[in-house]
């Protein structure tokens, strides 16, 4: 008799945005795995058309409240490179600093509030706080440090108002930045403790085999700029992205899936960044990684929590370094005159590569836009991982399997808000 099991989660919790998951098992074999995004579509590419290029950072920020700085940065990168704007070093430092703020905030959120409860058997951080208030307080303090940095450089944590094509509206003073040194030093300590704490979790042995894609930039751990590189040896400028990657629209989902142009599944995000750019980490971050038992590469989605921890250490370290070398610019922004043509930009959102492309006319009106967020690039990789995880654990009861599937998904910190342009776990056993 054919046995059919369906395991589903109608609303994935502790991911940003709304999605569901379905897994169908037939006679103990995985028949079908599906990550569904039913976040209603918001049509950003379409509503950007006809807007001024100067509005792109403000409008695209609204795609995602979790990583608005990533959207703003990829947008300004694309438009500035098209218009030939030379960004002065202090302005670039401020951008990277702002981005460090977002990494700290977003990683602290994911590690403490979304991911760690899975390892510790809690429904969420609020529940965890009842038993381990100090730990949650540490996570919140870290998160706050990131937020405060964003609030100073960007004006506010969510949808910063200070970012513009060409730079900023107002450059913070060295004195304002210095006030963040002490909190960042404390945050760096907390980040180190985070890595040690998470290193004590139990990790199932897992490796993903797909191609890893991330930005790389000589001399630094790429965040706000870089060339697109992959573990398979790709090394291209953001302008060449479309030649090597394509987006597909899949029924059942309002998100688009990305593949390499030859149809390959790839993964971006912390694992990719760590594996490709390990050597560029700061000595303290490298030390933390080593202590946590991480080698020079990491392909284990469960251990992504350690990698995020290491990146937390790095982001604090880097923010301190940037504050130290910052000198107030003569002007917070350079004048950017629109140039007709197509501009390409990429940056490393906390969840991975975020690619923007704009075509504008000589007046600066956006003629069309394309935005590829990390979650749509990772969706196929997540599904592949899910399939593999399920096939290895078909002996589990539905509840256990469902929890494992959800955790597998959360390992990737999928951001559904971003992907709309993701998910309920349904496991169907036939």
């Amino acid at each position: 008799m054919a046995e059919r099991r369906t395991i589903r989660t109608d609303y994935l919790a502790r991911v940003e945005g709304e999605g569901s998951m379905t897994v169908v098992l037939e006679n103990g074999r995985v028949d079908h795995v599906e990550l569904r995004i039913f976040e209603p579509p918001r049509f950003f590419e379409a509503l950007l058309r006809g807007r001024s290029f100067t509005e792109a950072p403000d409008i695209t920020a609204r795609i995602c409240g979790i990583c608005p700085v990533a959207y703003q940065t990829s947008a300004v990168n694309a438009l500035e490179s098209l218009c030939g704007a030379e960004i002065p070093e202090p302005v670039r430092i401020l951008r990277r600093l702002l981005y460090c703020g977002e990494w700290i905030e977003s990683h602290a959120l994911h590690v403490y509030m979304l991911h760690a409860p899975d390892f510790l058997g809690y429904a969420g951080a609020v529940e965890l706080a009842q038993d381990a208030p100090d730990i949650v307080a540490r996570g919140l303090a870290l998160k706050k440090t990131g937020n405060e940095l964003m609030a100073l450089v960007g004006g506010r944590e969510i949808h910063p108002i200070n970012v513009r094509v060409g730079g900023f509206y107002r450059a913070p003073t060295t004195r304002e930045l210095r006030a963040h040194v002490e909190p960042l030093e404390r945050a760096r300590e907390a980040a180190l403790e985070t890595v040690r704490w998470a290193a004590g979790f139990e990790f199932p042995e897992r490796e993903v085999e797909c191609d890893l894609v991330a930005l790389s930039q000589p001399g630094e751990y790429a965040i706000e700029r870089g060339r697109i590189r992959s573990s398979a040896g790709l090394d291209i400028a953001p302008a060449e992205y479309d030649e090597h990657f394509r987006e597909e629209h899949v029924e059942r989902s309002t998100a688009l899936h990305s593949r390499t142009s030859d149809g390959g599944v790839y993964l971006c995000g912390p694992l990719a960044r760590y594996t490709l750019n390990h050597d560029a980490l700061s000595p303290l971050a490298l030390e933390a990684a080593r202590e946590a038992g991480l080698g020079p590469t990491c392909r284990d989605p469960f251990r992504s929590i350690l990698v995020r921890g290491v990146e937390l250490v790095y982001a604090c370290d880097e923010a301190l370094r940037l504050i130290d070398i910052y000198e107030e610019p003569d002007a917070p922004a350079v004048e950017v005159t629109p140039v007709a043509g197509t501009g390409y930009g990429a940056s490393e959102a906390p969840r991975g590569l975020l690619y923007h492309r704009y075509r504008i006319d000589g007046e600066g009106t956006i003629l069309d836009a394309k935005i590829v967020p990390p979650t749509s690039q990772n969706q196929d990789a997540i599904e592949a991982d899910l399939r593999d995880v399920v096939s290895r654990h078909t002996h589990l009861e539905d509840d256990g399997l469902r929890h494992l599937c959800e955790q597998t998904i959360r390992n990737y910190d999928p951001c559904i808000s971003c992907a709309t342009h993701f998910l309920t776990l349904e496991v169907e056993r036939r």
Partner: protein, 255 residues
């Protein structure tokens, strides 16, 4: 002891930023979580508690039939329903579709548009169900969110002004950038709440908190024009994050 009030957080079409504001209240989060039973807050917990809910915070706008039905259920299960953010109070940036051809929008984003079912409009929650309080902003101000939550838990009116951004700008002692630099600023017609953030960063307000209580956009537009905004520029600045809020819609469409 009476049971703790149940707090629920709901999401419709949005960027998640407004509900993230609750988690961004790092200093108060655990106190709030201690004072209420978090009955539904998917971004933060997989725990779910049945309704009815004492306080529902609703983020996002209504863009699908399914969501139009879901908000009615949320309303029915909620004693107090508060909408948070520009999406929920004014349709959000996605309401720009209200002024365009949606089919064309869909085909611009999705290669196989036939898979997408969506309403032609993005509408605020209040267009579908009665709302007890609207908290403005794109995104909302987290301190105001705290005030709303604490106020409703204590049955009081939140101390949230609906005056202009200028009132906050002056309370902060900022120099008016419209008067002193000639920078176009929507502050005089925009709802207070951000604390006059943009003027503090030497930038004109672009209206992300939506219209203030008595917005005289007709009197402001000529000033914006004289400061160098083109007709199209005026149209754009009013038609961004609160495009579907009536006074801004009027100003954007010139009447």
């Amino acid at each position: 002891m009476s049971p703790k009030p149940k707090l629920a957080v709901w999401k419709f079409a949005s960027c998640d930023g407004c509900q993230l504001s609750l988690l961004d209240l790092e200093d108060d989060l655990l106190a709030i979580a201690g004072a209420v039973e978090v009955a539904e807050f998917r971004e933060a917990t997989s725990g779910v508690v049945e309704g009815p809910y004492d306080l529902s915070l609703v983020e996002g706008s209504i863009t699908t039939e399914h969501d139009a039905e879901r908000i009615r259920q949320v309303r029915a299960a909620s004693k107090v329903l508060v909408t948070i953010g520009a999406c929920a109070t004014a349709g959000g940036v996605q309401a720009l579709r209200n002024f365009a051809d949606v089919d064309e929008f869909v085909s611009a984003v999705y290669a196989s548009p036939e898979y997408i079912s969506t309403l032609g409009t993005s509408t605020p929650i209040a267009a579908h169900v009665p709302v007890d309080f609207e908290l403005h902003g794109c995104p909302i101000n987290k301190h105001q969110l705290r005030e709303v939550v604490v106020s409703f838990l204590h049955g009081r009116r939140p101390a949230i002004a609906s005056t202009s951004v200028c009132t906050e700008c002056k309370r902060r002692g900022l120099v008016c950038i419209t008067v002193a630099h000639g920078t176009p600023c929507l502050g005089p017609v925009t709802h207070a709440g951000c604390g006059a953030l943009c003027p503090a960063y030497n930038r004109g307000c672009f209206g992300c908190f939506g219209p203030m209580e008595t917005p005289n956009t007709a009197a402001l537009v000529p000033l914006l024009r004289s400061q160098g905004l083109t007709e199209r520029g005026v149209e754009r600045v009013f038609a961004t994050f609160n495009a579907a809020a009536e006074p801004f819609r009027e100003a954007a469409t010139g009447g």
